[in-house]
Amino acid sequence: MLFVLLLFLIISIFLEGTLTSLPLVFLCLLCMTIILRDLRLFVAAFFSGIFLDAFALRPIGETSIFFLIVVLLVLLYQRKYEINTYPFMFIASFVGSLIYLLAFDYHGAFIEACASAVIAVLLLALIRYVDKQFAIAHF
């Protein structure tokens, strides 16, 4: 599962750094946080942010700080509430994407945040499906 998530993360870094302005890395990281709930997420958040900044010609480190804070908040939130749900994914991805897009001065942030929320839910469904197939194959 970790391998699949990392693969998604790497692909999303390449895509966001080269072709699209949608916050794919953020969405992927959110999915990873919801599923893994692990300290290794901080490593993923740090390095994905660093590479994304290098790709997008932003000051290196600022995206990492944003990702690290998001991972921390989600990990703290999951102590009290269930986070592995579609409504949480939708709301968290919408709010997070909106803040991310506004913070990094993207135009049309609201529309992109709506699109991001839909993509995030689909991504979570895809990851769950892949996980299920993987579990069936190895049972």
Partner: protein, 268 residues
Amino acid sequence: MSVNHWVASELQTGYNTGMKRVKAVFPIFLLFILISVIILFFAQTPVTVGLQFITLPIQRLVFGMNFQPTNAPTSIQQLQEENNQLRVQLAQMQEMQKDNQALHDQFETTTPAPQKLLPADIVGTQQNALILDKGEEDAVHVGDVVVYKNNLIGSITRTTPHVALVTLLSDPSTSFTATTTKTSANGIVTSEDGGAIVFGNVVLTDKLEQNDIVETKGSMAVDGKGYPQQLIVGKIVSINKQASSLFQSAKLQSLVNLSQLRMVFVMN
């Protein structure tokens, strides 16, 4: 051991592990935040240069995979290309009629002058921006103008040693003076939030015509930065003129299809 005891012991183990992890969250978070802040404020250049040795080839590869050159253009594309070329030629002809013919014959150079152009490959796209594979080490500076043929693409807004960011005309920060080639109407080129390029602040007494070409009027600063004259911004596709308004405006369409571009030229 009964199943209930086993489940209870597993839950306890899981809880203990979870508590340890929760306690470890803050030190690890703070460690990475600290590293990020150090990079952000104290080690920006070396880390950027180091990372771009990795990211630049990847960007070239990914962008190259996405870029589909049309080796066999369709008849519609050929006609569009031909149409664009004819419009450019028409604009140039009209410009020549207005200026002194002899002076043009003497210089007989295309605009911009070829010796000032640095070819650069596009290795990435962002919202209203392109990433080029040339940077400070190739003498690319902030403020340099980027063109394709004699079409204005945008200007350099950020540079690193090996990479530069071009802000396109569709970015809301765009603002420069321009003029139409046929009717010599003066105005300011800006961009709406949706990405449309607008030729605005044109007084009502000036005439705007559909399909007329808009080109830069020239707004060079003392240091040589800024837009030179006669770079084509686009053609007028719609006109907004109301008698009650002080000014009229027009929406422009670039003659260059950015999605088909692989290489541009930096004027420096």
